[in-house]
């Protein structure tokens, strides 16, 4: 072997005689020439093939390349529809005509656009965009010049086709939201895929490369994008020199997106949005038996349809409240049910009460004396009732929403146990619904404060937290889940999607929380008294129908402490404060009280008192849910009936007649 052979000492050929060397060389040369000849033969074959393709069949191929260029295109699949629980369509696909144009086909872009403009009135803004895009994209990419074109215009373009090379009227699909602003905060909306989207998401679906392909931008449309989108089909078309499609050669259909059914009831949702209109508020109704979200409204809202084709700058500014004083912002784009977090105020008292009862820190009948305030390490904490409530037990303290009772009790239990109870009831937890930017809120405890604030927990923090102030922040969704869990004693899990492509999602009924049933019954009983005892804070908003009695809890949470200076200047009432500093009004409830079906949470931003601003809304929505439509006046206490009748008449204009089935048809 050659390794190690030193050429001075043992050159291999030295072993061979001259004859052998000659023989070897001759044979090698012979075979080399043979091989060379074979190669030449193959090269000749290659040359012949070249000549055959490039000379003999040149015309044929050149025609294939030029006159009848084969284009390959993607067929966008039909996006899955979104239905409500009764089969009412929440997101639909409408067909519409689009006029597109290729630079290659048009030749003189400006001239063709001018001709087109004489036939069809084009939106100047859109036209400018299209002109820009035509310059920037490859010459053969079709660029949309006009969207949602009428049939007359399409006909006009087709008749004048010879004068409009490169211009094609195409049938397209576009998303529409028949429920308008009702579902904006639940279903969300789609929009044309942007470079920002492409950079943000890791998705190699070729569909995303289609210019202006619509993808889900927010909420269900966004979170269930993969299910809703489907997969692309392909088609091969012959196009002529001008880029006009001559005929379709073949097509492979894609898979349409999966249909999605939500748990939401479009009619209840419609009522909620109508009832909330004018306020900056959120309301959410959960079916406690399975966690289904029947209604989840946020006001003010917006029409998602304006986003589908790309929103105008002016409207975008308006929705973002540009130019509006920050203190008056009502955030129409925010789904306050999951994206807004508020101090829960007195609606948190059930958590403190249950923590204390479970811990044994206080007996159900043990009393605490309320003198209107409690001094805790040199700081005076006031009860909302300055004159004091007197002796309070659990039932009375909840019913009358006495603060001092909770100041006292919370110190006995300690914040960590209160926080543990809060988390057990779903506070401080990010309930994963297919919605966007869901907030976790804050369920503070000692460890949290050390980590988040770098400070030690102080006893005053516990006192503040006991009545849902201080660091505690909850979303309306969390409050509704908390109420559902108190009403059932089970870990109810909210559910927004009923089924995807006909496959049911798991129920959210949940396992038992393992709480003492007696303690739960006492808290529920106190909530019943809040709404049904003459001294209860929610008595005025009770339900009169015997079998639909409501059990609730009011809450009024301070946005900001009223300063001593303001107090001195005579500001003591909410109405005297600017809107953005008024208290948030809250109300949570479940009904029927003896056999709970629905839990509800209502937050009215800066609405003032929970009993006056939030409780009436909650009661009305609850009745609407229980009666599955407009309730009879007899369901209301007699004193309220006149006012309710007025309100029902007023809301009638906002309530639409919603029937199951599609409102638009694929032609």
């Amino acid at each position: 072997m050659p390794l190690g052979i030193e050429y001075e000492s043992a050159a291999p050929t030295m072993k061979r005689g001259p004859k052998e060397t000659e023989d070897g060389a001759r044979r090698l040369s012979r075979r080399a020439l043979l091989l060379g000849t074979a190669q030449l033969g193959i090269i000749a074959a290659l040359g012949a093939r070249m000549a055959s393709l490039q000379v003999d069949q040149a015309d044929e191929f050149r025609m294939l390349a030029e006159e009848n260029r084969i284009n390959m295109g993607l067929i966008p699949p039909a996006r899955g529809l979104i239905y409500d629980i009764n089969g009412v369509v929440l997101a639909d696909n409408a067909q519409h005509y689009t006029i597109t144009m290729t630079r290659e086909g048009a030749g003189d872009v400006d001239e063709i656009l001018a001709r087109l403009n004489r036939l069809v009135a084009l939106d100047p803004e859109r036209l400018e965009k299209a002109r820009e895009e035509l310059g920037a994209r490859s010459p053969f990419v079709p660029v949309t010049v006009a969207e949602r074109v009428s049939w007359q215009d399409v006909a006009r373009v087709n008749v004048n086709a010879p004068a409009l090379p490169g211009v094609v009227a195409e049938l397209g699909r576009s998303r529409i939201y028949p429920q308008g602003l009702d579902m904006a905060h639940v279903v969300g909306y789609v929009g044309p895929v942007s470079d920002f989207d492409l950079s943000r998401i890791d998705d190699r679906d070729p569909l995303l490369q289609i210019p202006r392909f619509q993808i889900g931008k927010t909420m269900v449309e966004n979170r269930l994008e993969r299910d809703l989108r489907g997969s692309a089909g392909t088609k091969r078309v012959e196009v002529n020199a001008a880029g006009r499609v001559m005929r379709e050669l073949d097509r492979v259909e894609g898979t349409p997106g999966a249909d999605v059914q939500l748990t939401v009831d479009a009619r209840l949702q419609n009522y909620i949005q109508a009832r909330l209109s004018g306020e900056s508020a959120a309301a959410i109704v959960i079916d406690v038996t399975n966690g289904d979200i029947k209604g989840i409204g946020s006001a003010p809202s917006f029409d998602p349809n304006v986003f589908v084709q790309g929103i105008s700058v002016a409207l975008w500014d308006e929705l973002n409240e540009r130019g509006v004083d920050a203190s008056l912002h009502r955030r129409p784009l925010a789904a306050k049910t999951v994206q807004g977090t508020y101090p829960p105020g007195s609606t948190f008292k059930m958590v403190t009460a249950l923590a204390a009862l479970e811990d044994g820190a206080i007996g159900p009948d043990e009393t605490v004396r309320c003198v209107g305030h409690l001094d805790v390490s040199d700081v005076r904490f006031h009860c909302w009732k300055r004159s004091g409530h007197g002796n309070m037990n659990l039932n009375e303290s909840l019913k009358q929403s006495c603060d001092v009772y909770y100041y006292e009790v919370s110190q006995r239990v300690g914040i960590d146990k209160i926080a543990a109870m809060g988390r057990k009831l779903g506070l401080g937890e990010r309930h994963d619904l297919p919605m966007s930017a869901i907030r976790t809120g804050i369920m503070p405890d000692k460890a949290w404060k050390r980590e988040a604030r770098g400070e030690d927990w102080r006893i005053g923090d516990t006192v503040n937290a006991s009545i849902g102030q201080g660091y505690v922040l909850t979303s309306p969704l969390q409050l509704a889940v908390m109420t559902a869990r108190i009403a059932t004693g089970r870990a109810v899990k909210p559910r927004l999607v009923r089924s995807i492509d006909g496959v049911d999602e798991p129920s959210g009924a949940g396992e038992s929380l393992g709480l003492n049933e007696n303690n739960l019954r006492r808290v529920r009983g106190a909530m019943y008294d809040v709404s049904n005892h003459p001294r209860g804070t929610g008595y005025r908003t009770r339900i009169a129908t015997e079998e639909f009695r409501i059990a609730g809890k009011t809450g009024t949470s301070q946005v900001r402490r009223i300063t001593q200076a303001e107090r001195d200047a005579g500001v003591t009432r909410n109405e005297d404060l600017p809107w953005n500093r008024r208290d948030h009004a809250l109300f949570v409830a479940f009904a029927p009280a003896d056999n709970p079906k629905y839990a509800i949470a209502v937050v009215v931003e800066h609405g003032g008192g929970g009993s006056t601003a939030a409780a009436p809304i909650a009661r009305d929505v609850m009745l609407q849910a229980l009666y599955e439509g407009t309730p009879p006046l007899s369901a209301y206490p007699s004193a309220a009936r006149g006012q309710i009748a007025d309100q029902q008449r007023r809301l009638n204009d906002l309530i639409r007649d919603i029937q199951p089935g599609r409102t638009t048809d694929e032609a």
């Binding site: 070897g24 060389a25 020439l33 000549a51 191929f61 050149r62």
Partner: protein, 379 residues
């Protein structure tokens, strides 16, 4: 031919060696590469970036390497054969473990600034090893079975590793190149007849094995075979490349559409238009005259190599030169046959024209061996 004999027979020394370089081959190689620069400039849409600049740099480096190697006596390279082969084999094994995966095949070693493809290195070192082996082996033993087994193992080991990467194109080049050297060395006809018969049998077996538990090729390779036989059955997928390549070629006609005027390549109908399918762009833009011209240039390179080999009395030098010529031939013949729809799409670049650092450098090293053999030819 011994070292002493070389000395006696007036092997040029020092800078006089430059006079004995096979200059026609240098000029031809430069001309082909120049064609490559033009095409890379065209497919980049009339830009030196991203392909032309690095390609020119590598070519410059390659010319330096080629001439440098030409200055080193051919017997030095013969003595390097086993070391080189062992190194290449070791790197191939290494790729199995720490190779970088791209497009589903694991062929590269990440060396920081550049990637190394050991299978490219193997193409040369295998030729060198086989040439050295037959230089060493007495002629009367060449056709003895036990002396046939050894070179077969030399070929089989890297071929097996490369096939597993998977890289069918390189495997074919290794096996055919190795077989060619055995043929040149004078192995008896009967062996080749047997192997060809066996290969036919194997192909039958491979095709028969499809869909069974012992399926021998990857699904994509079967699809390529299907597509080769009938490209129209999958016009959107596998057959698409070939159909579009043929349209590009055919539409070039006699004189082509003109430099930078090819629509097929410009419209992205063609994949890998800067690597494996670059010939289609050339044929479309320069027509039959350009494509045939390139074929002539390649043929001249082969002819000059064969001429150098048959007039060289040094057995190793002769075998290496022929080995390089055959490998080079296989490169462009397989690539051209592939894009013209005569062979399956196996992923072989067009030598000296396709964009790619490893391939370019390895070819220049190969021509360095040819030059060394030519310069140190006993005269």
């Amino acid at each position: 031919m011994s070292y002493l004999e070389y000395q006696i027979k007036h092997v040029p020394v020092g800078f006089r060696k430059l006079l004995y370089v096979n200059w026609p081959v240098v000029f031809l190689v430069t001309a082909v590469s120049g064609f490559g620069f033009l095409m890379l400039y065209s497919v980049a849409g009339g830009s030196m970036d991203p392909w032309v600049n690095p390609q020119i740099q590598r070519f410059g480096l390659g010319v330096g390497v080629m001439l440098g190697m030409a200055m080193v006596p051919i017997w030095f390279w013969r003595n390097m054969a086993v070391v080189g082969y062992s190194l290449a084999l070791a790197l191939l094994v290494l790729v199995e473990f720490i190779g970088v995966e791209r497009n589903g095949s694991q062929r590269w070693l990440d060396l920081g600034p550049m990637d190394l493809q050991p299978s490219e290195l193997m193409k040369i070192t295998l030729i060198m090893l086989l040439a050295a082996y037959y230089d060493w082996l007495p002629l009367n033993k060449v056709s003895k079975p036990q002396w046939i087994i050894v070179p077969l193992l030399f070929i089989a080991a890297p071929a097996y590793l490369v096939l597993g990467q998977p890289d069918l194109g390189t495997t074919i080049l290794l096996v055919s190149g190795g077989g060619a050297i055995m043929f040149l060395a004078g192995v008896h006809w009967a062996y080749f007849a047997t192997v060809i018969a066996g290969a036919v049998g194997l192909v039958t077996a491979v095709l028969q094995s499809r869909g069974t538990g012992w399926q021998m090729l990857k699904d994509y390779q079967y699809r390529r075979i299907d597509t080769f036989i009938d490209p129209t059955q999958d016009p959107l997928g596998a057959g698409y490349h070939i159909t579009q390549a043929k349209i590009a070629l055919g539409s070039g006609g006699w004189t082509g559409r003109g430099f930078m005027q090819g629509t097929q390549s410009r419209l992205n109908f063609l994949p890998e238009k800067h690597t494996d399918f670059i010939f289609t762009t050339l044929a479309e833009e320069f027509g039959f005259i350009g494509a045939f011209g390139l074929l002539i240039l390649y043929t001249l390179i082969i002819i000059f190599c064969v001429q150098s080999a048959v007039t060289n009395k040094d057995r190793f030098a002769s075998l290496v030169t022929m080995g390089v010529a055959v490998t080079f031939f296989l490169f462009f013949a397989v690539n051209m046959a592939m894009v013209m729809g005569l062979a399956p799409v196996v992923g072989v670049p067009l030598p000296l024209v396709s964009y790619g650092g490893s391939a370019m450098l390895v070819l220049m090293v190969a021509f360095g061996l040819v030059q060394s053999a030519h310069v140190h030819k006993p005269r």
